[in-house]
Structure formats: structure tokens, C-alpha cells
């Protein structure tokens, strides 16, 4: 009797379930949409930043070139930058920037690559555990501290070695060497990533043919990681070009077209920092000029960054 009642109740519930109206259509979720839009806006700030940079640089540069004292041709060909006598040729600044960057690469490439190869091909776990934090520490030191180091440590040594008359108090060499130290961690870590990404079985194959560790590293692993190493070097170069504090402190404060690394010569970044560090009146030609220099700087570094990314994308060996 009781069983029957229960059974019929169950049947009723089942029937109810089957007849229940189920609506699975999408309905707008206002809250979700608002959140999604907000998050998208957060991401879009980066686009605004880029647009802002390009817009600001272009606008004020246009004002700069509109000045009767400046012409575009003169800007790129004149070898003198002397705002006081209305000479605006960016060449000396670019030249000093490139000198610093090349000296820096001369330091950072061998040191950074050597470190990367040592860490990825030779070092034991214990050695890595000690050496990697040291490299990260080097990368974390503020650049102004490196500037201090260049001016108060490296420059006196250079002057001691090459002579007080040969080496000026402010000189490109000291700045370049220290910028090199500063970008070494970039070369080292990015290259090490590329080297470690080379599959171990390539190394095994090489050892199996009777290659030594060095032969394996230099003839198999490094070539296989070449695109990554190249990209790392380009990123480092771009950092060297954009580096400000070391050159502002150690490279000198006068635009100077010279090939002598022991002379003072102001870089693009150094010049921007010096001009804007003083009391800058808006609308003056000095004020506008930093935007024109900034524009050149921006495009050089942007070009390098895009190049590095392309290299990584295009030439990466695909191992399954």
C-alpha cells in the first residue's frame, strides 16, 4: 500500500520533470559585459600610451621644425648641435649614442654569451644556483648607481691607465664600458633561455659522434639557438641606446662629433636629460628640440625591438 503511494509520487515527479520548461537561450548578462568592457579598457591603455607617445613626439617635433632656425635637412646633416647659435644637427648626438652602444656591445656580447654558454652547457646545478642570482642582482641595480660607478670608479682607472691628458674626466669610453656591464645580464639571460631551449638529444647526438663539450656547444647548440641569441643582442643594443643615467653622469655635457672615445660627447638621452633637468620654459626651442630628439630615439629603439621579435618568430627552429 505504502509502496504504491510512493511509486505513484515518483511517477508524478518524473512527469513534472519531463514537462518542465527549459530555456537554454542566451540572455544578456549585464554585469559580465561591464566587467569585460572594463578589462578590455585596461588593456587598451597600452594602445593609448603608444598613440600618446607618437602623437606628442610628432606634434612638438612639428613645432620644432616649423621654427625658422631649423630645417629637416639641416637636422639630419649638420654636424653641429649648438642651440645657442641656432645650430641643430643631430649627428653629434647620434654619433655619441652609437659609440656608447657599440662599446657596450663589445663588452656585453662576449661576457653575456660566455656566461650564457657556461651556465647552460657547463655549470653544475650548484654553480647555477650561485651564479644566476648574481646576474639577476646585476640586472636589478638602478642605472643611476651604475652612473656613479662609471664616474667615480671606471673613469679614474681609465685616466690612470691611459694618462690624465689622454682621457677626459667625462668620456664616452667609461660610459660605454659601464653600459656594457648594465646590458650584460640581458644578453646573458635571454641567450641562456635560447640555449636551454635546444633539445638535449641534439647534444647527445653530437657527443655520440665523439665531439667534446666545447665542440658540441659551439657547433651544435649555439647555431641552433642563433636566432634567440641574435634577438637578445638586438634587445640589449636597444637598451644601450636608450640608457640615460650612465651617459648623463659619465659621458659629458657637450654635443661633440668625435671618434675619440676618451673625449666627452653627449648622447641623445644625455642631452634630453640635461636640457630638461634645467629650468625649461615651455615653447622654447630647447623644449621643442627634446621632442625631435626623442622621436629619433623612439624610432631607432622601436625598429630594433620589432626586428628582434621578427627574428625570433621567423627563424625559430621548430622541434617537436
Amino acid at each position: 500500500m505504502a509502496d504504491q503511494v510512493q511509486a505513484s509520487a515518483q511517477r508524478a515527479i518524473a512527469a513534472q520533470r519531463a514537462e518542465r520548461v527549459v530555456d537554454l537561450r542566451k540572455r544578456p548578462r549585464i554585469g559580465e559585459s561591464i566587467i569585460q568592457t572594463t578589462l578590455f579598457a585596461c588593456g587598451f591603455i597600452s594602445i593609448f600610451t603608444t598613440i600618446g607617445i607618437v602623437f606628442v613626439l610628432f606634434e612638438e617635433s612639428l613645432a620644432f621644425f616649423a621654427d625658422p632656425a631649423v630645417t629637416l635637412v639641416e637636422f639630419f646633416t649638420n654636424t653641429v648641435w649648438q642651440p645657442r647659435i641656432e645650430q641643430f644637427g643631430i649627428l653629434p648626438l647620434v654619433n655619441a649614442t652609437l659609440m656608447v652602444a657599440f662599446i657596450a656591445m663589445g663588452v656585453a656580447l662576449p661576457l653575456g654569451l660566455g656566461t650564457a654558454i657556461y651556465l647552460s652547457e657547463y655549470a653544475s646545478e650548484r654553480a647555477r644556483a650561485i651564479l644566476k642570482p648574481v646576474i639577476e642582482l646585476l640586472a636589478g641595480i638602478p642605472t643611476v648607481v651604475y652612473g656613479y660607478f662609471a664616474l667615480t670608479f671606471v673613469t679614474p682607472i681609465l685616466r690612470g691607465v691611459f694618462g690624465q691628458d689622454v682621457v677626459s674626466v667625462y668620456n664616452v669610453m667609461s660610459a660605454g664600458l659601464v653600459v656594457g656591464v648594465l646590458i650584460t645580464p640581458i644578453v646573458a639571460t635571454l641567450s641562456e633561455d635560447a640555449l636551454s631551449a635546444v633539445p638535449g638529444r641534439l647534444r647527445q647526438a653530437s657527443f655520440g659522434l665523439g665531439a667534446t663539450r666545447w665542440e658540441t656547444a659551439i657547433r651544435i647548440v649555439v647555431p641552433a639557438a642563433l636566432s634567440g641569441i641574435l634577438a637578445a643582442s638586438i634587445v640589449a643594443m636597444s637598451r644601450a641606446i636608450g640608457e640615460t643615467m650612465v651617459v648623463a653622469l659619465a659621458a659629458g655635457a657637450s654635443p661633440n662629433l668625435t671618434w675619440n672615445p676618451f673625449e666627452p660627447a653627449e648622447t641623445m638621452t644625455g642631452h634630453i636629460a640635461r636640457i630638461s633637468g634645467g629650468d625649461l620654459s615651455y615653447g622654447s626651442i630647447d623644449y621643442k628640440s627634446i621632442f625631435a630628439i626623442g622621436l629619433v630615439l623612439f624610432f631607432i629603439t622601436l625598429g630594433l625591438n620589432i626586428a628582434s621579435r621578427q627574428i625570433v618568430r621567423r627563424f625559430r627552429e621548430v622541434y617537436d
Binding site: 585596461c42 597600452s46 657556461y118 641595480i141 638602478p142 648623463a248 653622469l249 630638461s276 626623442g294
Partner: protein, 444 residues
């Protein structure tokens, strides 16, 4: 062995070393390999060596000896007794005997000498009569290991000078405001400015960065509009393109030199938005003197600078959350945001925090953009609001380093030590925070 292989063919295939030649060949290659290993190891060690030199350089300058010379010796004033042992009337007598009457009158007018206690009188005697002055400074290494030469040199140039140890890094240095006299200058204003700027930057960049990272990682493949209508399809495609653009753009922005951000901040925050960033539209009065070169402008600039790095670090942390967790949540009927808020973010938080704190702590070492937006280098008032003028430690270091006097170099070195300690403790805090959050998640 391979002799038969060679013999069986007509054409030559060159020769591999055989027998003893193999041995020599291998030995030679192994030697070359060892030489290179030493070279590689050396280049790795150079990093450590540079770090040591850097530390030596800073410590060497931040501590050392100073030669102090007084106009009048204490003993000459007091007949060999110590000032501290003298009574108040005796001190007044010394003042009256050695100061010009006009100076004495001024002091009396401020407050009669007889009403002042011994400590105050001794201070006046020190400042007005003894007048100790630093006549030479020596780095630590010379002070310690070249004492004899220094003393000989001093005896010649400043026979009355007294050589003493000086730590430029001391409590006074940390709590005193700026001063044009290096022996009295301090970094109180700069430390406060640095901390304040850091806090503001975190408050601005952190939510924006995480928001962007969530969008790029979780909503990237989303199609918010109706796929059935052409307009919806077009909108969806546009949004996805924009997201792709944002990704590339973030990478490129992370490579833009920091000084360019300074230029951007100068043009936008300092100039174009001056009414806002100077606080003028909020009726702030102090901002009028700061001209938009306020700590708010600096924080906005710094936020844009660190944003790409914060986004990339957060993206990595979010990506590390296993997708099985997300699927479990969706499987229970959670919406996207519920999944993100309840599942993804709590799991990604330790990673996000460490990554972003490390990224933002980089920003407190940044100097170039602040130079460009025109942070003050000489102010004595503490930053007290969004619209106040400010200075930061790296700027002080830059400013002092660029002066030729050795005293300024010394306090620059002392300020560097403070900056590095600040940086290290921030990093340590980030790591501890991560470990704490991790342990909490495991135990619950």
C-alpha cells in the same frame, strides 16, 4: 676495422686520423675545450667581480676619514677642561670673552644667556667660536691602510686638523632634510618621496595591469557579440584584432627607453593636464608653485612605464594556473567572471604579486623620466599630498654625483646604500609574501 671499408671503394673519401693520430687529435681537442671552458667560466665570474668592485666603490666612499679643523681649539678656551664639565656661568664667560659685542647682543635679544642651559650654551660655543670645519676627506681604504701618509700630508697642510672616522651614512643623514651643506644634508625628503611615489604607482599600475592581463589571457578568444549578424561578426573580429594588437604593442612598449616616458609625462601630465595634476581644479593652492610637476604626475608617468612589465608578469602568472581548474569551474555552471574571480585570480595571486612587485621595484630606481618631468632636486618640505612637489632618492644621487666636490660624492654613496637596502628589502618582501600566500593556499 675501417680498412676494408676504404679498400672496397675506388674513390677516396679523405682520411680520418687512425691509431696514434686519433689519440693526439682527441687530446688536442680536449685541451682546446679546457682552455675555452676556463674562458667561459672567467666571463661568468666577471659579473661577480664587477659586483664586488661596485660594492667596494660605494662602501669606500660612504665611509672614511675626515680631517676636522677648528678655528679655536676647545682646550685653548677652557684651559684644558672639557666644555661639558664647565658650569653655566663659566660657559657664559667664555662666550662673552670671545664673541663680538654685536653677536652677543643679538643672542641676548633672542633669549638672555643667563636663561639658557648648559647644552644650549655649548652648542652656541661650538657653532660660533670653535667652528669645526671639514678640510679634507679620505675614502675608507686610504683611511685604513694609508694612515701615515694622510697624517703626514695633513700635518703639512692643516697642522691643527684632527683626523677622525666618518660614516656618511648615519641616522642624522636619514632623518635630516636636504641642505646645501653636505655635512648637514639628509635624505628624509627623498626617502619619503620615493616611498610615496612607489605607493601611488602600485595603486595605479597594479589594478590596470592585472585587468589587462586578465583580458588578454581569459577573454582573448571571447566573442561578445552575436555571431549570427554580420555586424556582430565584424565587431567580434575587430575586438580580437585589437587584442592581438595590444599584445604586440605591450611587447614593443616594454622596449621603449624610459626617458621617452618622461617626455610623454612632461607633455601630457605636466603640461596638458596641468589643471588636474597640479590640483588647481580641486582648489589646491600649493600646486600653483609646482606647476603640474607634482608627485601625481610622476606616479602617472611611472605607472605607464611599468604597466607593460606588470601586464607581462601577471599574464605569466595567470597562464600558470592549470586549465583543469577553469574547466572544473565552468563545468559547475560558473560564468567567466566567476571563474576568473574565484578560481583563476586566487591561484595566480602569489605569482602576480611577486612578478609585479619586482617590476615596480625596478621603477623606484628609475631616474631619467623624473628628471624630464622636472622633479625638484632641492626641496626641504616633505611630500604631503598628491599635488606636492617631491624628490626621490635616485634623483638626489644623480644630483650629488654630478657635483665635483668630494663631500657630495660621499653622501651620494651613502644615499646609494640606502636605495639598495630599500630595493633589497622590497624584493625580499615580495618573495616572503609569495611564500606566505602559497603556504596559506596549501593549508586551506
Amino acid at each position: 676495422m675501417s680498412a676494408e671499408t676504404n679498400a672496397s671503394s675506388e674513390r677516396s673519401t679523405g682520411t680520418l686520423p687512425q691509431g696514434e693520430a686519433v689519440r693526439q687529435n682527441v687530446a688536442q681537442r680536449q685541451r682546446r675545450g679546457r682552455v675555452w671552458e676556463v674562458v667561459l667560466f672567467a666571463s661568468t665570474v666577471v659579473g661577480i667581480v664587477i659586483l664586488v668592485m661596485l660594492a667596494f666603490n660605494i662602501v669606500n666612499d660612504a665611509f672614511g676619514g675626515i680631517a676636522v679643523q677648528s678655528v679655536v681649539e676647545e682646550e685653548d678656551l677652557t684651559d684644558g677642561r672639557r666644555l661639558e664639565d664647565l658650569s653655566q656661568p663659566e660657559l657664559i664667560a667664555i662666550l662673552e670673552a670671545n664673541l663680538r659685542s654685536r653677536v652677543l647682543r643679538n643672542l641676548e635679544r633672542e633669549r638672555p644667556l643667563a636663561e639658557r642651559d648648559e647644552g644650549e650654551l655649548i652648542d652656541i660655543i661650538n657653532q660660533e667660536i670653535i667652528k669645526p670645519e671639514v678640510v679634507a676627506i679620505y675614502p675608507l681604504s686610504e683611511f685604513l691602510f694609508n694612515r701615515a701618509a694622510i697624517e703626514a700630508e695633513l700635518a703639512e697642510a692643516f697642522p691643527r686638523a684632527e683626523l677622525q672616522f666618518k660614516s656618511w651614512l648615519n641616522w642624522n643623514f636619514i632623518v635630516s632634510p636636504m641642505s646645501s651643506n653636505p655635512t648637514q644634508a639628509g635624505i628624509r625628503t627623498a626617502i619619503l618621496g620615493t616611498l610615496f611615489l612607489l605607493l601611488l604607482t602600485v595603486l595605479i599600475a597594479f589594478p590596470l595591469g592585472i585587468g589587462a592581463a586578465i583580458y588578454l589571457e581569459e577573454y582573448n578568444a571571447d566573442k561578445p557579440f552575436d555571431e549570427r549578424s554580420p555586424v556582430g561578426r565584424w565587431l567580434n573580429r575587430t575586438i580580437q584584432r585589437a587584442a592581438g594588437l595590444i599584445e604586440t604593442n605591450i611587447y614593443n612598449l616594454s622596449g621603449v627607453p624610459s626617458i621617452i616616458y618622461g617626455i610623454l609625462g612632461l607633455a601630457i601630465f605636466v603640461r596638458a593636464l596641468e589643471p588636474f595634476t597640479s590640483g588647481a581644479i580641486f582648489g589646491a593652492t600649493e600646486g600653483v608653485t609646482a606647476n603640474g610637476r607634482t608627485i601625481l604626475s610622476a606616479a602617472l608617468t611611472m605607472s605607464l612605464l611599468v604597466l607593460p612589465v606588470v601586464i607581462i608578469a601577471s599574464q605569466e602568472a595567470i597562464r600558470a594556473v592549470p586549465s583543469s581548474l577553469r574547466q572544473a569551474s565552468y563545468g559547475l555552471g560558473a560564468t567567466k567572471w566567476q571563474t576568473v574571480w574565484k578560481i583563476v585570480l586566487p591561484n595566480a595571486l602569489p605569482g602576480i604579486l611577486t612578478g609585479t612587485i619586482l617590476a615596480i621595484s625596478r621603477a623606484i630606481g628609475e631616474t631619467a623620466p623624473l628628471i624630464v618631468i622636472g622633479a625638484s632636486t632641492f626641496i626641504v618640505t616633505d611630500p604631503d599630498g598628491l599635488f606636492s612637489k617631491f624628490t626621490v632618492l635616485p634623483l638626489q644621487i644623480y644630483n650629488w654625483t654630478s657635483r665635483p666636490q668630494e663631500e657630495f660624492r660621499a653622501i651620494a654613496a651613502a644615499a646609494i646604500i640606502v636605495l639598495l637596502i630599500l630595493l633589497l628589502s622590497l624584493n625580499a618582501a615580495a618573495i616572503m609574501l609569495r611564500n606566505y600566500l602559497r603556504s596559506k593556499r596549501i593549508s586551506t
